[in-house]
């Protein structure tokens, strides 16, 4: 793998999560370097690309270059995140003096204009837990002392709630299209970085996998040996591609016309298109077995569809 993971020195020095990321890299077998990055707490990937240039003297020279990957992971310290959420809560989406999550994400976007960003906050759950224990302690103290304590007023100063976090994240998603992921432990981070790196590594190979218009419907191709053994099943599989066709119907057709050629011949022998359309209409389809056996015909619809497919030479004609 020609991938190098670069992580900001600050993650290692003050983040305390360097080890987790190193571990992830080692598990994948990719290189990593720590380097001060423009964006604090960011993780970027670069790929070594070998391109071949044919120079004028017909000399082939390979050029190795490093190419920044577009995916960037940015860690966000909890304290900052909480701060952002608070600011968001205070001023909503209007531009206030205080930086919000969205402001920050946009700042980062300016530094890395062509990147796909993902943000990670570690330990939010712990923060909530701490908040909760605080409340619980107060509660306990209050009960034990049986004195009316002044209500805890931390809802407007210092603490944020899950709802606030959810709102800030969602608002940010709508505005910047960047998702913030909440993770808890170093292990989770390690796992996240590992899968992320792997995905980045495989991205060029798999990027276009959703572009081809045709997708296998789960049934892969049918194996055929040298002598053409298995082609019959291919024929049946092909018939199954039509809409609303059951294996029973396909079987019946395959039995009547054991090769596409025979079917085509049959169509050619028809006098007019009307006859063609009705050609296989009356093939009997057997379903079930024994006493439960029922039989029915292939039917007009199906006959017409298959007829259209076989006889039409208009590529854009829609099979209804």
């Amino acid at each position: 793998q020609y991938l190098i993971l670069m992580l900001d020195t600050r993650i290692v020095n003050s983040g305390g999560h360097g080890v987790a990321i190193f571990k992830a890299c080692e598990a994948l077998g990719i290189q990593y370097i720590t380097k001060e990055q423009t964006v604090p707490f960011s993780i970027t990937w670069s790929r070594q690309v070998t391109s071949i240039n044919v120079s004028r003297e017909n000399q082939v020279e390979t050029v190795k270059s490093e190419q920044m990957e577009e995916d960037v992971l940015v860690l966000l310290p909890v304290a900052d995140f909480v701060n952002f959420v608070q600011n968001h809560k205070k001023c909503g989406s209007e531009l206030g003096g205080e930086p919000t999550l969205t402001n920050y994400v946009q700042t980062v976007k300016q530094h890395l204009p062509n990147s796909i960003l993902s943000f990670v906050v570690i330990g939010m759950e712990k923060y909530f837990r701490d908040q909760k224990t605080k409340v619980q302690r107060k509660h306990r103290a209050a009960v034990l002392s049986s004195v009316r304590v002044t209500p805890c007023t931390d809802s407007d100063q210092g603490s944020v709630h899950r709802l606030d976090v959810e709102e800030a994240i969602t608002d940010n998603q709508l505005q910047t299209d960047v998702m913030v992921y909440l993770l808890e432990t170093s292990e989770e981070l390690s796992e996240f970085v590992r899968t992320f790196s792997k995905a980045v590594a495989e991205k060029p190979a798999k990027k276009d996998r959703l572009q081809t218009a045709f997708f296998d419907d789960g049934v892969s191709t049918v194996k055929v040996d040298k002598n053409g053994q298995g082609l019959l099943r291919v024929w049946k599989q092909q018939l199954l591609q039509f809409k609303n066709i059951s294996p029973d119907i396909a079987d019946a057709i395959v039995q009547a016309y054991p090769s596409p050629h025979l079917l085509m011949e049959a169509y050619r022998k028809c006098n007019d298109s009307n006859e063609q359309e009705k050609l296989i209409e009356n093939i009997v389809v057997r379903r079930g077995a024994g006493v439960l056996e029922t039989s029915r015909r292939v039917g007009k619809e199906m006959s017409r569809r298959i007829c259209t497919f076989v006889t039409s030479s208009n590529a854009n004609e829609v099979i209804k």
Binding site: S14, A79, G92, T107, T221, L231, F309, S313
Partner: protein
């Protein structure tokens, strides 16, 4: 100890004497009795013998009852002695490996094997504490005195008490704030204080009352856990705070319970609403209704034709075996839920904050109360609070490598990013400028540009002016009725409770999306469901609970779903992944599940939102809907055709004043799963079934020979068989410009030209 060393080499190491303390005591008593010459020495001897033969661990004196030669008396003696021992030495701690290795190498295996059962461990350590005689300082009460036995059944808070409590033996029992026992006590207490209280409550009453006081559900268990908040009732009874009488059970507070509840109530009564519920900040412009009087359910009867009437006689009627007689009404769903009346949802009619339901005949009045059109309810504070504030499944506390300055995960650390942010460069590109400029003049200028270019490429079918439309969340039918087991999966009731305007309909792609619907001038016609014009917003959500995700991975549906989502024409597809129990219990390895999720984001370019449970999902959708509502409030929407939208290169920015969207009907029809294919597409599909072919290769062939007829004509015009066989072999596949190759070409030739039957 020596004995154990001797047997140390056995293949299967037995715990030599599993109950050393009991044995020691019995021996002691036996010797005492022998000295005194009393006959009871034989009793002890027999008991000792049968105890020695028993291979397993006994955790209390009572447990010895199962053995031969143990009577009530003897058990009692052992129990007492054990209690005394615990009091004296206290220390019964799950053994730490290093402690056991030093002195008794052979036993070191034993505790490890027993790990899953802490109480058993405890007994082994009793032994250690007894035999080694030192180090009794550690104090816990893991051994089975009745107290801790009960609280293992209780939800986390009491457990937490144990863990944190250093000397919790003496610590007074005070249930944690908003925990199960807390809610139960307060509910009972309030009932007792209220004028019409009977002094006791039934289980259902109690659950209903207590639910709003607790964060955890009283009826539904968290995944991966067998306990509900109700489980803590056992603890309360055991502690003598609550008594349970007669059948069906009646629960009432004891004096002690009453006192504790009083104290709980006093300390929290005044600050409760302020303390934990944040004031909801509706994004500007969402009207906040504050009508909270639920005393009387207000509704209108609805006739078969959808007309709203006051008289019950004209209302549409439903008669069902298991439900009885019902009358169709239109009612605010939220209020209906709180009213506790029996009803059945009429899902054939549109759902929103007002729903159509059949109200049970016994619960109806002759004349419906004439109400004004109900106002848009604000987000229900309690519900959302509950939705977001749910206790999440507690993670196992792992050894956290805590560096002293752990800025990443410690909330108390100094914010780090401010310096970076202040040094940020000014926006350079214009697009960024647009994002940043919040001043209205700049924004409108920019969007003016964008719409001008938009107008040049297509002519909008119609326009929604700002304020003419409302944003509605559409939920897929299947997601609601979901053939998959369990009703707890559905989002809809919770969404409606949160005051989100929802509509249930068949979606061919995705599970949830938002539409902008033109407001009708007269509300009267709603019942007839007039065709209202609707535009689809750019966001579409595919909801995947973890088990669904795994399932669709294994049966191969996922690529198809991804593909359809990607190509449905909406620019911002979101995968909402909902945790469901532990990741380790699925048919796929944990790693691969995680990788799949990350791939969705990195490789396939979906936005991925992770939620921990249904409530978080609902909270996310609620927040999302509210923010969309506020952002789209001032926008002008242009309806465009699907093709235009797909060709549109840029992505609508949330701050644009004018947005081009497609119509819902067109969108939904365009994304039907099994739509009719053209002859060429079908031919391509056919070809891709031949071995050695792929979608890509089949496509390459159909580029040259678009239909079967074309191909056959080509074959016929070939001079001989070998030419025909290699006809397709030089077709270039894709960008890589590789040849298709001779093998597939020959196969296809064979398939279509074999005159006889195939094999």
């Amino acid at each position: 100890m020596e004995e154990e060393l001797r047997y140390g080499k056995r293949k299967k190491k037995k715990i030599k004497s599993p109950n050393p303390l009991f044995e020691a005591w019995l021996r002691e008593w036996k010797e005492e009795a022998a000295e005194k010459g009393i006959k009871s020495q034989y009793v002890y001897a027999k008991a000792l013998k049968s105890l020695q033969r028993y291979p397993l661990l006994l955790t209390s004196g009572k447990d010895c009852k199962i053995l031969e030669n143990f009577g009530d008396k003897l058990c009692k003696m052992l129990e007492d002695r054990l209690q005394k021992h615990i009091q004296e030495h206290g220390a019964i701690v799950p053994p730490e490996p290093e402690a056991s290795t030093s002195k008794a190498p052979a036993t070191s295996k034993a505790p490890a094997r027993q790990k899953p059962k802490p109480t058993q461990n405890a007994a082994t350590t009793v032994k250690r504490a007894g035999t080694q005689g030192g180090g009794h300082q550690r104090v816990t009460h893991a051994l089975s005195d009745s107290d801790s036995e009960g609280s293992t059944g209780a939800p986390p808070p009491p457990r937490k008490r144990q863990r944190s409590g250093i000397c919790s033996g003496e610590r007074e029992y005070i249930p944690a704030y908003r925990s199960g026992p807390y809610a139960l006590l307060i509910a009972l207490y309030r009932d007792r204080q209220s004028a019409d209280g009977r002094g006791f409550m039934s289980k259902t009453e109690l659950c209903n009352k207590a639910q709003e006081l607790a964060d955890k559900s009283f009826t539904v268990t968290d995944p991966g856990c067998r306990y509900t908040a109700w489980s803590s009732m056992g603890t309360l009874i055991k502690k003598g705070l609550v008594t349970k009488e007669s059948s069906p059970a009646k629960y009432s507070l004891t004096e002690a319970g009453c006192e504790l509840a009083h104290r709980l109530e006093m300390s929290q009564a005044d600050d409760y609403p302020v303390c934990l519920i944040p004031t909801p900040r509706a994004p500007a412009g969402i009207p906040e209704a504050s009508s909270q009087d639920i005393g009387q359910l207000q509704y209108k009867y609805v006739t078969n034709e959808g007309e709203e009437v006051i008289n019950k006689d004209k209302a549409a009627v439903l008669i069902e075996d298991d439900f009885g007689l019902g009358f169709l009404i239109k009612v605010n769903y939220q209020k209906l839920l709180t009213s506790g009346k029996r009803y059945r949802l009429d899902t054939t009619r549109p759902l929103g904050e007002d729903v159509y339901v059949y109200l049970h005949g016994d619960d109806t009045d002759e004349l419906a109360i004439n109400t004004n059109m109900p106002r848009l309810p604000s987000l229900d504070e309690d519900d959302l609070q509950e939705a977001v504030n749910v206790e999440k499944p507690r993670k196992e506390v792992k050894k956290r490598t805590k560096t002293p300055k752990d800025v990443m995960s410690s909330a108390s650390a100094e914010p780090q990013l401010l310096s970076f942010q202040s040094s940020s460069p000014r926006p350079t590109t214009k697009t960024l400028g647009r994002v940043h400029s919040q001043g209205s003049s700049a924004t409108s200028e920019n969007s003016q540009d964008s719409t001008e270019s938009a107008a040049s490429t297509c002519v909008p079918n119609f326009v929604f002016q700002p304020g003419e439309f409302e944003i509605i969340l559409c939920v897929d039918n299947a997601e609601f009725y979901g053939s998959r087991q369990g009703g707890g999966k559905s989002l809809l009731p919770d969404l409606i409770k949160n005051g989100v305007t929802c509509d249930l309909r068949k979606l061919h792609v995705g599970d949830l999306l938002w539409v902008a619907r033109k407001k009708t001038q007269t509300e009267a016609g709603v019942g007839q469901q007039p065709r209202r014009r609707e535009l689809v917003l750019d966001y579409i959500v595919e909801r995947k609970r973890m088990d669904d995700l795994v399932h669709s991975c294994t049966d191969g549906r996922l690529p198809d779903q991804k593909f359809r989502l990607k190509h449905c024409g909406l620019k911002k597809p979101i995968f909402m992944i909902e945790d469901y129990g532990s990741l380790q219990h699925f048919s796929m390895p944990e790693d691969r599940i995680r990788q799949t999720i990350t791939n969705l984001k990195v490789i396939d370019g979906f936005q991925v939102k992770k939620t921990k449970n249904v409530k978080e999902s609902v909270a996310y959708l609620t927040v999302m809907t509210r923010y969309l509502q506020s952002y789209y409030k001032d926008k002008r929407l242009y309806a465009c055709s699907m093709d235009d939208i797909k060709d549109q290169v840029w992505i609508n920015d949330i701050t644009d004043r004018e947005v081009r969207l497609m119509e819902f009907n067109e969108f939904n029809q365009g994304s039907v799963k099994s739509r009719n294919l053209s002859v060429q597409d079908m031919f391509c599909k056919h070809l891709s079934k031949v071995s050695g072919m792929s979608g890509e290769r089949a496509m390459a062939v159909t580029q040259v020979y678009p239909t079967l007829t074309h191909l056959m004509d080509a074959y016929r015009s070939c001079p001989n068989k070998s030419v025909a066989e290699s006809l397709l072999s030089t077709i270039k596949v894709n960008k890589s410009l590789r040849n298709l190759g001779i093998n597939p070409s020959r196969l296809i030739h064979q398939l279509y030209t074999t005159p006889g039957a195939l094999t």
